[in-house]
């Protein structure tokens, strides 16, 4: 029976496997275009902290550095989010998790962008973080967001049980 089947029980070779095994498949990082700039994200080393100062002067002097963007450079909406738009594209005044993007360096080479990243002086005032979701919703927990730490409450309901049965 099984040997008469043409599809079930047979493994197909991935269409893209040959290109990938040959190192010829092009990924985004493999593509070069004219006037290409490199972006490097400067991230928070703190779990929760106030940003007191961002000094880009020294970083901007590095040859090849094009721009260094922070939240104030973003025109219009500065936040996004799938359920509740409460996530800053770049931190505004405060960082709420380790690795939160604070600034974006744009440079002609990756090396220049990385050097600039190291030269940006950011002064933080560390605050007491919260790590546990159960503790986070307690009233005495550090409040990371204006409306409290609870993102949202959603009721998910679909169909009609009574009709279904």
């Amino acid at each position: 029976m099984a040997d008469q089947l043409t599809t079930i029980g047979k493994s197909e070779i991935r269409k893209d496997a040959w290109q990938k095994a040959a190192g010829k498949a092009l990924y985004t990082a493999d593509i070069t275009v004219e006037n290409l700039y490199y972006g490097v994200v400067v991230r928070s080393p703190h779990h929760y902290a106030r940003i007191l100062e961002i000094n880009k002067t020294a970083a901007l002097k590095i040859p090849g550095v094009h721009q260094i963007l922070t939240a104030e450079d973003i025109p219009g909406e500065k936040i996004f989010g799938p359920l509740v738009p409460d996530q800053p594209s770049l931190a505004q005044g405060v960082v709420r998790h380790l690795g939160e993007p604070v600034a974006l360096v744009i440079a002609e080479t990756r090396l220049a962008a990385q050097k600039a990243k190291e030269e940006i002086k950011i002064i933080y005032q560390p605050l007491v973080p919260v790590f546990d979701p159960v503790l986070a919703v307690k009233s005495d927990a550090p409040q990371l967001h204006k409306g409290g730490n609870l993102v949202t409450e959603l009721n998910v309901q679909d169909g009609d049980i009574k009709r279904g049965y």
Binding site: A21, G23, L26, Y27, L111
Partner: protein, 159 residues
Amino acid sequence: MNQIEVIFNLNGRETKISCDPNKTLLDVLRNDLGLTGAKDACGGEGECGACTVIFNGKPVNSCLIFIGQVIGQNITTIEGLSLKGDYHPVQKAFVEAGAVQCGYCTPGAVIATKALLDRNPQPSDQEIRDGLSGNLCRCTGYNKIVDAVQLAAREYSNG
């Protein structure tokens, strides 16, 4: 910065470039020579093995090799394995064993496999795992990769 002149053997061909001495072999392969088969997946820290090339017969992370180190040396990259248009037995084995998913680790894993089989054509399961321990796969495809190495080893012994 003063440029240095580098002449080395790349995939069997004498290659000459002049570049900043602070560049890595991976930088030069990808940016100066347009050979993008070797990948940078960990940011040049020698963690992931996606940039593996063969340096005088040994697999190395090309992100940790300064370009000056390759002067007069022999380098084989993934592009060097299918120079004549035909695929290398290791490449065929990876494809046939289903060891290629997203493919980002694949060139490095293929190169590490070639280096392993060149010095040990019949590796044990443990030797395969040791030989490829520097190559991370985030599609969690290690079993298939080991299968591919075993398949390639059989090809080596037959051919």
